[in-house]
């Protein structure tokens, strides 16, 4: 493996690897922001899990980070993204592309369709290396074998000349991971990388990602709607609901002391017996669409603790304890339980 900085630990006064501030994404002609003012940091080597139901804006946030959001129809309505001291939104398209696939990489939810059916997988991996490194074709190919080996594809050297259709979904996702990590990125964004796979394969891929992250020290943004995944790999957690972060904090705080009613609902829908399930069984009602987005708290229509204040005014994310924030007028909840019941 290449030249990893031997020490991934952050000095307290180092800026985070990635800072997202007040990011809003809006689609053309939409009544409201689809992603509305989200902020978070990711330190080097750290894993941030973004959890939330389907449609809450996780993927488009990730694509915005990568600079892959189709604009139009989407536009960045506000915010700042600083990656490794570089302000992403002010970079030239060329400078942005130089980062992409090199310092920051992404794997997607759709392993079956994310590889180009017309090219051999070895060439597809080597292509990304050749784009960002001045090395020979042969070295890039060697790097591809090495990466296939690292993602535990058996007989890597022979699979190099396979076409994507010759591989299973799990294998294709391994190839995607190999491709994403081939240039030792500082940040890997994984958008529900296991959702489309069989349950047994899901566990394998997750385990692989965790191992690789430990080995390479890359920071990871793991997007998921599966709290089981969060419990397994997160350092930090951001809970999204309808385009907003409603709660964020260290994984222990989120699991042991959830403060936002939505997070509490998610937790209580988590079956205690090993089987993973992500449906929101205990929260009634539906996620508001962009047309019916409440002007107050976006969760108010479904919230068991809803109050006039919630309908009138959107709550800010406020700090409850060190690094633990929740966007609820009534957080910390304990203080209000009597009143709300």
């Amino acid at each position: 493996m290449g030249e990893r900085p031997e020490n991934q630990a952050n000095h307290p006064d180092d800026p985070p690897l990635l800072t997202v501030e007040n990011l809003s994404i809006r689609f053309r002609n939409a009544a409201a922001n689809t992603v509305d003012g989200i902020s978070f940091n990711v330190d080097r080597g750290e894993t941030l899990c973004i959890v939330g139901e389907s449609g809450c804006g996780k993927s488009i946030s990730a694509l915005a980070l990568m600079g892959l959001l189709p604009m139009p129809p989407a536009e960045i309505a506000s915010g700042r993204m600083v990656f490794d001291r570089r302000d992403l939104l002010t970079l030239s398209p060329k400078a942005r592309a130089d980062l992409r696939g090199d310092r920051m990489a992404m794997i997607f939810q759709e392993p079956m369709t994310s590889l180009n059916p017309a090219f051999r997988i070895g060439d597809q991996i080597a292509e990304g290396v050749l784009r960002h490194r001045s090395i020979s074709q042969a070295d890039a190919r060697r790097r591809a074998v090495e990466m296939l080996d690292r993602v535990k594809i058996p007989a890597a050297a022979e699979r190099l000349d396979d076409y994507p259709h010759q591989l299973s979904g799990g294998m294709r996702q391994r190839v995607m991971i190999a491709m994403a990590l081939a240039n030792d990125p500082d940040l890997l964004i994984a958008d529900e990388p296991t959702t489309a796979l069989d349950v047994t394969i899901q566990a394998q891929i997750l385990e692989l990602m965790r191992t690789l992250q430990e080995e390479t020290g890359t920071a990871l943004i793991m997007i998921t709607h599966d709290l089981g995944v969060v419990a397994e790999i997160a350092d930090q957690v951001a809970v999204m609901y309808a385009g907003k972060i409603v709660e964020q904090g260290p994984v222990d705080a989120i699991f042991d002391d959830p403060q936002h009613p939505y997070t509490i609902g998610l937790m209580s829908s988590l079956p205690s017996l090993g089987e993973r399930q992500s449906r929101l069984t205990t929260i009634s009602g539906m996620v508001p669409t962009i047309e019916t987005m409440p002007s107050g708290c976006r969760f108010a229509p479904r919230c068991p603790f809803v109050h006039e204040t919630c309908i009138a005014r959107a709550p800010e994310l406020t700090s409850l304890s060190r690094n633990h924030l929740a966007a609820c007028h009534f957080a910390p909840l304990e203080a209000h339980v009597v009143e709300a019941v």
């Binding site: 892959l68 592309a97 994310s114 180009n116 059916p117 017309a118 784009r131 076409y163 259709h165 010759q166």
Partner: protein, 315 residues
């Protein structure tokens, strides 16, 4: 690969058989007695009887068909009554002319149609896209004969830059050959360019939306590489198939354009043959056109096969 071609050929043979039945019996249904045509001015009963005997015209129709087919299988397509040349020889003379015209037209169509299609897909919804579509639509709606005549009037008659008609073999005088062929090839090519452009555009639009194009961008590849390598390589499949089929149609469809520019090609051969009731020539030309068309279909299949790793690796 070979078994794939063999399978396609197995389909082609019954198709050619059907075409031959069609060509033969349709012509039998036409009014007029071939013996009279063959006899020309001499209408005396003895001559007619002799001709009927010689060309098996007294035999049952199935037997006549059998004679015709077995002749063709031995390379005997009959004799042109107009020129007294063997039909095969006539075809051998005229076919290369039309092939040259078709190849040049196809090159022009591809040079214009494919880049225009890619560009309008990449710039979908912009002025570039609309302009390309409007030009393509006009290209499709302007009849070839009109465009041909206009070009002759402007370029040949008015400006005097190119000859209005005629033909020269590229092996005798390549420059002259190019000069005589460029206008008809342009007329045929622009019409095809429009079709090709629209198919390229829609193929590219489909491909540009795919997840693997997003992956290519996620690697930081230049947009040029994303479009021309990752997207176009996948859009190529339908484009190449279509091109092969269009080429087959060109061989048959050049009739009108050849007439306008008086090019002594296949089209002119068949028109002259029909007007003079030169049955053997008509039948031979139609059979050749059909076989050519079926061959181009085969080429399309083989290209599709070669370009598609999924099919290639399945063997």
């Amino acid at each position: 690969m070979l078994s794939f071609i063999a399978r396609r050929l197995a389909i082609a043979i019954p198709t050619i058989f059907l075409v031959s039945v069609f060509v033969f019996f349709l012509q039998k249904l036409l009014p007029g007695d071939p013996a009279l045509v063959l006899a020309g001015e001499e209408r005396d009963p003895e001559t007619l009887a002799f001709i009927r005997e010689k060309y098996h015209l007294n035999e049952p129709i199935l037997t006549q068909y059998f004679y015709w087919v077995s002749g063709m299988l031995q390379g005997d397509f009959g004799i042109s009554l107009r020129t007294n040349q063997p039909v095969l020889e006539l075809i051998g003379e005229k076919l290369p002319v039309t092939i040259q015209l078709a190849v040049m037209a196809m090159i022009i169509a591809m040079i214009i149609g494919i880049p225009a299609g890619i560009l309008s897909a990449v710039r979908k919804g912009t002025a570039v896209d609309y302009t390309a579509n409007i030009i393509a639509l006009s290209g499709l709606s302007i009849p070839n004969f009109w465009l041909g005549i206009m070009l002759i009037m402007l370029v040949s008659v008015h400006l005097g830059w190119l000859p209005a008609s005629g033909y020269e073999s590229p092996f005798v005088d390549p420059v002259r050959s190019l000069e005589t062929m460029i206008m008809p090839a342009f007329v045929l090519g622009t019409a095809l360019a429009a079709t090709l452009m629209r198919h390229t555009r829609s193929a590219m639009l489909g491909v540009l939306k795919t997840d693997y194009v997003r992956t290519a961008r996620a690697k930081g590849l230049q947009e040029k590489v994303v479009v021309l390598k990752h997207a176009f390589r996948n859009a190529l499949l339908p484009i190449v198939t279509l091109s092969a089929l269009l080429f087959g149609e060109l061989l048959a469809g050049a009739v009108l354009t050849e007439q306008i520019f008086t090019i002594p090609g296949f089209g002119k051969l068949i028109v002259d043959a029909v007007f003079t009731r030169d049955y053997a020539v008509v039948q031979g030309v139609v059979m050749c056109t059909a076989v050519g068309f079926i061959l181009m279909n085969l080429v399309a299949d083989v290209l599709y096969f070669l370009l598609n790793p999924r099919m290639r690796t399945a063997l």
